[in-house]
Amino acid sequence: MTVFLIFFPLLVSLFIFLVRPAQAKTIAFAASVVELLATLYITTQFSKNELFQFVLDVPWIQSLGLNFAVGIDGISLVLVLLTTLLVPGIILSTRNKQFAKPHTFYGLVLMMEMALVGVFVALDGLLFYLFWEIALIPIYFICLIWGGEDRGRITLKFFIYTLAGSLFMLIGLVYLYLATPGEHTFALAALYEAGQALSPGEQGFVFWLMFVAFAIKMPVFPFHTWQPDTYTVAPTQGTMLLSGIMLKMGIYGVIRWLIPMVPAGVAAWGPTAIIISVIGIVYGSCIAIVQKDFKRLIAYSSVAHVGLIAAGTFTLSVVGLQGAMIQMVSHGIVVFGMFYIVDVVAERTKTRTLDSLGGIRNVAPIFATVFVIVMLGSVALPLTSGFVGEFLLINSIFQYQYVLGAIAGLTIILGAVYMLRTFQKSMSGEVNNVTAGFADLTTEEKWVLYPVVVLIILIGIYPAPLLELSEPAVTNLLKVYSNLSASVK
């Protein structure tokens, strides 16, 4: 089943690449929907109390200790759900845009989906790394071929920057791999064991090697500078993939591949991570306040949000991790909606500069309303998905350390500041010649945005199912962590 999740999109994308059918978009969309259904089926079959299910473990390159080991537990499942949920929307979000070489485009998107799912279900260190890198290639080409101006330089920076990080992660993984007792292997459990055995010093070393990779991917301050540029030049779909899903790879990496792996390292350096994440929150929000470009503003807000998630994760409390999980889903949905809205605005007004917009509410009330709701999700108003996550996260950080918690809480205020500003500049006021002819949402756009709205509110009102899905896995993870760190001390 898991294998199907991974290879089905791959096969379809290959089909699209090679056969180059006329209806590339339709096929891709259908495929992604099938993928979504498959995931939902898995969710129904998923038993909450066991850990890894639908496991497959076959040797691939034994000489490298590489096995094709995949499996799903609560944490993976939530993220796979997010991925498979967003990809159809992303494919739909192209609307009537005519791409050069559509088959390449949709093929790449599906390949991306494959890689992302792979990352979330891999149970073998090297396999995880492979998917992690593979995910980089399609997104790079999506941004390079269909991106905005000056993309050549910016995307290259993005690629090298992230690659640098992940190569360090590779060193870390190899380091652990070589520490595995007996016949070396990359199996998750074995790596945990190996990491546990290392001396605190070594663990700190490994921690940094891997944390840098994750930090760059998320990205948390100060490893984030590739992100705003890339988000801005990337085509909307690319941005959605990057911010909606790829960003989560970093957090997931921390949760699955860092915390239980080098407990002593995390215990030693986690506080530092929290501090820089919290700095990132304020920093990102502040910069977002003064942005002129709509898309860039969302990019920086995303820095702030992910900072909060990271900080919560490193509190190593069930509350924090659960908050991170739910907030990842919420942020994925919200940011998807946000970029979609940006895309609609940009497409109709041919500009993303906030100052030149205004008064859209007059001509497109429905659009404006949707914007309001998505915005509320982003500023974490209660009864929207955003609140559940941010509440739990701030809760965990505050419990961890009052001052940090208070600072992290600033996101509630600053988020309101830049978001309301955006809304006012773009939507309120009198229409000007740019926005005068702004048409309200078309049916197709409603088909994308309404589900987003519904999900935001639904998760906000009744998040329990999602939380229950990941709770056992998280608790177990922390149990592993506490045992290991205890045993090291």
């Binding site: 980089l136 390079l144 050549g152 090298i160 060193i171 380091y175």
Partner: protein
């Protein structure tokens, strides 16, 4: 062993073809012959035999490398067929190439310094000529001359090294030398070490390790593209095989050698990769990158001489596959417009997707991006190096390979991002098939990596 005979035979046959006028069939005939050679290698595989009073040793190592050499040559003939078609002296060129291959096979399988020496010389002398084979072009001539002059200079050192080692051990056979070393670990005269280092110098020149690499970029650029392809694949493989065979023995005795190799490795990692960044001419850039790759292989050898054979072999497979692809594309571009600067790749994706995609595969593999074989090659070497505690060097290597990404991706950006500067090029079917075959091979190398890693044993 038989493979060697077959190849030499082919070479002579090629010369005969001139007389009996079979030029048009020649290439096909040669390819068939090489396939036959490959077959013999397959048959012999798994056995380990000495030949001619231990002059040649065909164990898995030499068989695997000879096989790699032969296969690469087959593909090379495929991609370079117009190099023969468009220019005179088909037969001579073919013959010379085949002799080179013979030399290469010897370098991969020698057990006696004399054979090493002769192998290198056959290879080199033929190459001097081939490099200069586009006589109307001054660049070609210059390349040939530089290569010859510096090559023979380096040979002097190689021979001096051999002589000193002979003096110290009284033997030319690698096996005997090894025995001697084991016999009296303490009592080795100083000039024996000097001999080792001199040999190292000679071979470092052949594998173009910094600071003995200066000839490489110039010669690669000056020589006809197809010959460059040949040099950067077949010749490099052979040189590295020889290097491994020699220093595999000495790696145990002596620490000055490791220190020297360390220094060379660092230089070879840094300098070519840095220099490549600024190159406008893709051909020359690839030349630098191929020098740079030697650095990684040296790192592997340095990390663990005895174990690294597998990694090096796989690395070379991946490398050969990738650079053949790259040179195939380069060859097409170059043959249409006399130059190969980056501009000529502009918008290639829109003009000739197949070329662009193939080139992309090649470059990604050279840049060691998963899941392409280039990555696994580097990965094995890094893993070994970390295991042996060379973490610092590995980090350096990682930084350089990031720089590598930088210059490889300049081409990719040109192909996908820049607007087309010219009309689509018309491709022959054979080129298309070749490119697809090479892509397929690189995928096979990934998926069945295990098959290849185990080969050397």
């Amino acid at each position: 062993m038989n493979a060697l005979f077959v190849i030499c035979g082919l070479g002579i046959a090629a010369l005969v073809a001139e007389i009996v006028n079979l030029k048009k069939w020649l290439t096909a005939f040669v390819i068939v012959g090489l396939v036959a050679a490959m077959a013999t290698i397959f048959i012999d595989f798994g056995t380990s035999t000495m030949h001619f009073s231990e002059m040649l040793q065909f164990d898995n190592f030499s068989l695997a490398f000879s096989g790699l050499i032969v296969v690469t040559t087959i593909f090379w003939f495929w991609l370079a067929n117009d190099y023969f078609r468009l220019q005179p002296h088909i037969t001579d060129r073919t013959a010379l190439v085949l002799f080179t291959v013979a030399g290469a096979v010897i370098m991969a399988s020698f057990n006696n310094m004399a054979m090493l020496f002769l192998g290198i010389e056959i290879l080199s002398i033929s190459l001097y000529v081939l490099a200069g084979s586009r006589k109307e072009s001054l660049f070609s001539t210059e390349a040939a001359f530089k290569y010859f002059l510096m090559g023979s200079f380096a040979t002097g050192f190689l021979l001096m090294g051999i002589a000193l080692i002979y003096g110290a051990t009284g033997a030319f056979h690698l096996t005997k030398i090894a025995e001697f070393i084991d016999a009296n670990p303490a009592g080795l005269p100083t000039f024996f070490y000097a001999g080792i280092l001199l040999m190292f110098i000679g071979l470092a020149f052949k594998i173009s390790a910094v600071p003995f690499h200066f000839w490489a970029p110039d010669v690669y650029e000056g020589a006809p593209t197809s010959i460059t392809a040949f040099m950067s694949t077949v010749v490099k493989i052979a040189a590295l095989a020889a290097f491994y065979r020699v220093f595999f023995i000495f790696s145990s005795v002596d620490h000055t050698l490791t220190r020297v190799i360390q220094g060379t490795t660092i230089l070879t990692l840094v300098i070519p990769n840095i220099t490549a960044v600024y190159q406008q001419n893709v051909k020359r850039m690839l030349a630098y990158s191929s020098v740079g790759h030697v650095g990684y292989i040296l790192l592997g050898f340095l990390a663990n001489a005895t174990e690294s054979a597998n990694a090096i072999f796989y690395y070379l497979c991946a490398y050969a596959c990738a650079s053949l692809t790259a040179f195939a594309v380069l060859h097409v571009i170059g043959s249409y417009n006399r130059s190969t600067t980056v501009e000529y790749f502009n918008g290639l994706f829109k003009r000739n997707p197949i070329l662009a995609v193939a080139m992309t595969f090649a470059l990604l593999s050279l840049a060691a991006i998963p899941p392409l074989p280039g990555f696994f090659g580097k990965y094995m070497i890094f893993a070994m190096a970390i295991e042996q505690g060379y973490t610092g060097l590995v980090i350096l290597a990682i930084i350089t390979s990031l720089i590598g990404v930088y210059y490889y991706f300049r081409i990719i950006i040109a192909m996908y991002f820049q607007e087309p500067s010219a009309e689509p090029l018309s491709l022959g079917t054979s080129t298309r098939v070749l490119l697809i075959a090479l892509i397929a091979i690189s995928l096979i190398l990934t998926i069945c990596a295990d098959r290849f890693v185990g080969l050397v044993g």
